[in-house]
């Protein structure tokens, strides 16, 4: 099987990361925002693994595993927060939640 070089991996990672970032910044639905965050995290994972393979070192893969664990925890907390927000206002539209304004 032909080896995939570093650049295709990084380009793919950057594209996915940008998609995620744009999703976070533009979508109003909190669930979609959470999903977009997952996209960003996994884009980073992809870059980690790509670099790990390129350098022949296991560190990046270790980090990827850590990121997955943290992402799982973050998703659990994030979903719980969204649930509570929904109970509060019967909506998950982020524009309805501006209680922290100064």
């Amino acid at each position: 099987m032909e080896q995939v070089g570093l650049y295709p991996v990084l380009v793919t990672s950057a594209v996915i990361f940008t998609l995620g970032a744009v999703g976070v910044l533009t979508r109003r639905n909190a669930l979609i925002v959470l999903m977009s965050i997952e996209l960003m995290l996994n884009a980073v994972n992809l870059a980690f693994v790509g670099f790990s393979r390129h350098h022949g070192l296991p560190d990046g893969q270790v980090f990827a595993v850590f990121v997955m664990a943290v992402a799982a925890a973050e998703a659990a907390v994030g979903l719980a927060l969204v649930l509570l927000l929904f109970r509060h206002k019967a909506s998950v539209d982020l524009d309805h939640f501006t209680m922290l304004k100064g």
Partner: protein
């Protein structure tokens, strides 16, 4: 003795203080007092062991114990280390010995049920004081001495204000602390100057300091130099605070607000003598400056006289003793000032014996009369309190200098050496001015006054008829409040209290044996203390004109005659014909003298008007109203107000509460940073 054991001496009282503080309310009077007494007694045992070791060692031997290096900056190394030379060892024995006796006495004295919850505090402070005092005298360097110096001041403050719920007592504590701080400031400046003058050879260890200065007095300006005079005067300024001399003596009489054992231990026997101890320790330095020596001797003599004139009219038994202490401290400074270091220090020791006894005896009287301190309501107490009264007679004879008693030998030696001092050595007004003779006259007059006011105290309180009690219904009521079920008459105190009195009585009687004058045929015993201390003062050679001649005995007889006359007058006025007292006063004493003495020559009022008042006005009107309220508060409020205006005006726009807006700013920031890195590299 293994020198390492030396560090145990201060360790015991520290341990005691910590233990009692940890037990706090769980320690009753007997437990706290027992621990405190045991710890000081252990210190005393090791102190006497040290003294015995040094006394049997060859001349000039010292013991030292180094615990660890405390501070090390450049060439300067300061250790936590202790040094015991003859001077230290003698002082250690006085502090721990008299201290242990006073601890025992305190167990008996502090039995007021109102204090039951706080006696542990009393004993913890007392032990802490002994620890600080031992640091002061045993520290082998200036810095450790200064730690002790400040430590005793702090304990003194805590103990004067022991009954802090009484505002006046708390104020007396503050007064003592502040007066001492003024002196300490001068002490520190003197220390800094000395340190600065030595330059490359700067050191804080006493032994090195002595070596450096003796090897090259030019470092501090040479004999009689302006620099050494300034250093000595500044250090003496510290001593005037701690040892209550003019101009800083005002705190000591007020310090009598503390419990009487505190007055005996701190404000008579130990702490107040630390100024004299410091000058003895630095005799090699002070001997280089005849002007400073002249100032010390003059201030000492003037203080002795001045305080004695106040003591003559006071009616509070503790106030008389307080002014008497100031006066006796003046004698000690007179002694060290004319260069008779061992004589001055001898008076420190004998004074510790008889003044501790006088205070403890007064405490016993106050205890027996339920907090009555006015001598006009005493009288005839010898009948009711035979042991206390008997011991009081011994202390009285010692302080007036009755032949054979301890005070006789020490005071006589100071007066004689003052008389025969070499004027060139105390050249305050030039070498030809007969300063020694004038100082001797002041000293002799003070001895007469001392005999008068001490006899007055003894005759008013211990002889004649009892003037308090029965007729005094108020006193009777107070009596019942305290829950003692005694009769109306004063009663002897408990053995815990009179046993220390007996020991101190014997010491007051026999203390002179330590340093018998040369005209007493006592063989090896003659001048024991003088010879023992000689190596300490070896680098401060002082000469006395005709000290070997037998002028001593005529001078002594002359003083003695006046003293006896003074006792007789006192006896006549206060015992034989008290009804003539008022008319004698009218005819013989001008009003302003009597009122001046009664009101302490208005020194407190003078300080209030000249120093404290202006400082208060300046602080309130300028520092508080302008500098603090307007300048500093203005700056603080201005900065806060500016920030508030900025935040409410501009930053509100960005704090809009939209998380996604925040995320956008964050992402934009990250993008800018990445771009900056990319462009930069």
């Amino acid at each position: 003795m293994n020198p390492a054991l030396l560090s145990l001496v201060p360790a015991f009282p520290l341990l005691g203080a910590i233990t009692i503080a940890l037990l706090n309310r769980k320690a009753s009077r007997l437990v706290a007092g027992g621990i405190a007494t045991a710890m000081v007694s252990l210190s005393a045992v090791f102190s006497f062991w040290t003294l015995a070791t040094l006394a049997s060692a060859e001349e000039g031997a010292t013991l030292s114990a180094r615990l660890y290096e405390w501070i090390s900056i450049g060439n300067v190394h300061v250790d936590i280390a202790f040094l015991a030379d003859p001077l230290t060892a003698t002082m250690m024995c006085v502090v721990t010995g008299v201290g242990a006796l006073i601890h025992v006495y305190s167990i008996g004295y502090m039995d007021d049920p109102a204090d039951a919850q706080s006696t542990w505090r009393f004993f913890a402070y007392l032990n802490l004081f002994i620890f600080a005092m031992l640091l002061l005298i045993m520290g082998d360097n200036f810095l450790l001495m200064f730690v002790g110096w400040e430590g005793v001041g702090m304990c003194s403050y805590l103990l004067i204000g022991f009954w802090y719920k009484n505002t006046d007592f708390a104020k007396a504590g503050k007064k003592a602390f502040i007066a001492n701080r003024v002196g300490d400031f001068s002490f520190l400046i003197g220390l800094f100057m000395l340190f600065w003058a030595l330059g490359d050879q700067a050191t804080l260890r006493f032994a090195d300091l002595q070596q450096v200065i003796v090897a090259d007095p030019g470092l501090v300006g040479g004999h009689g130099g302006a620099l050494v005079t300034a250093v000595c005067l500044l250090l003496f300024g510290g001593a005037t605070g701690k040892s209550a001399q003019i101009p800083l003596f005002v705190w000591l009489p007020d310090a009598m607000a503390g419990p009487t054992p505190v007055s005996a231990l701190i404000h008579a026997a130990t702490m107040v003598t630390s100024g004299i101890y410091m000058i003895c320790r630095l005799s090699f330095l002070f001997a280089l400056s005849p002007v400073a020596m002249g100032v010390i001797a003059t201030i000492g003599a003037l203080t002795a006289f001045f305080a004695a004139t106040i003591a003559v009219t006071q009616t509070d038994i503790k106030k008389v003793l307080a002014y008497s202490t100031v006066s006796q401290l003046g004698y000690m400074f007179l002694g060290v000032g004319v260069g008779a270091f061992s004589a001055g220090f001898f008076h420190v020791i004998t004074h510790a014996f008889f003044k501790a006894l006088l205070f403890l005896g007064a405490g016993a009287v106050i205890h027996a009369l339920h907090h009555e301190q006015d001598m006009r309501k005493m009288g005839g107490l010898l009948k009711y309190m035979k042991i206390t009264g008997g011991m009081y007679m011994l202390a009285w004879l010692a302080i007036i200098g009755f032949p054979g008693f301890s005070g006789f030998f020490s005071k006589d030696e100071i007066l004689w050496l003052t008389f025969s001092a070499n004027p060139a050595q105390i050249a305050l007004f030039g070498p030809d001015f007969p300063l020694p003779k004038i100082l001797w006259m002041i000293g002799a007059i003070t001895a007469v006054l001392t005999a008068f006011y001490m006899s007055r105290l003894v005759f008013m309180s211990f002889f004649g008829e009892y003037r308090g009690g029965d007729a005094d219904a108020h006193g009777h009521a107070a009596h019942d409040d305290h829950g003692h079920g005694h009769g109306h008459k004063p009663h002897e105190v408990s053995p815990l209290m009179w046993l220390p009195l007996v020991v101190l009585g014997l010491l007051s009687l026999g203390g002179g044996l330590l340093n018998l004058p040369h005209w007493v045929p006592a063989g090896n015993m003659t001048g024991w203390l003088h010879h023992f201390l000689e190596p300490v003062f070896a680098n401060a050679p002082m000469h006395f004109d005709g000290a070997e001649e037998s002028l001593e005995i005529p001078i002594m007889l002359c003083t003695l005659g006046m003293v006896f006359a003074s006792v007789a007058i006192s006896w006549y006025l206060y015992l034989r014909r008290p009804q003539d007292l008022a008319s004698a006063k009218e005819e013989l004493v001008p009003d302003f003298v009597y009122l001046g003495s009664l009101n302490k020559w208005y020194i407190d009022e003078l300080y209030q008007a000249a120093i404290i008042g202006p400082i208060l006005v300046g602080s309130r009107q300028v520092l508080w109203a302008i500098v603090d309220a307007q300048l500093i508060d203005g700056m603080v409020n201005g900065v806060a107000g500016l920030l508030r205006r900025i935040s409410s005006g501009y930053s509100r726009v960005v704090q809009n509460g939209h998380v996604q807006f925040y995320a956008l700013v964050l992402a934009a920031g990250a993008a800018v940073m990445v771009l900056a890195f990319a462009v930069g590299s």
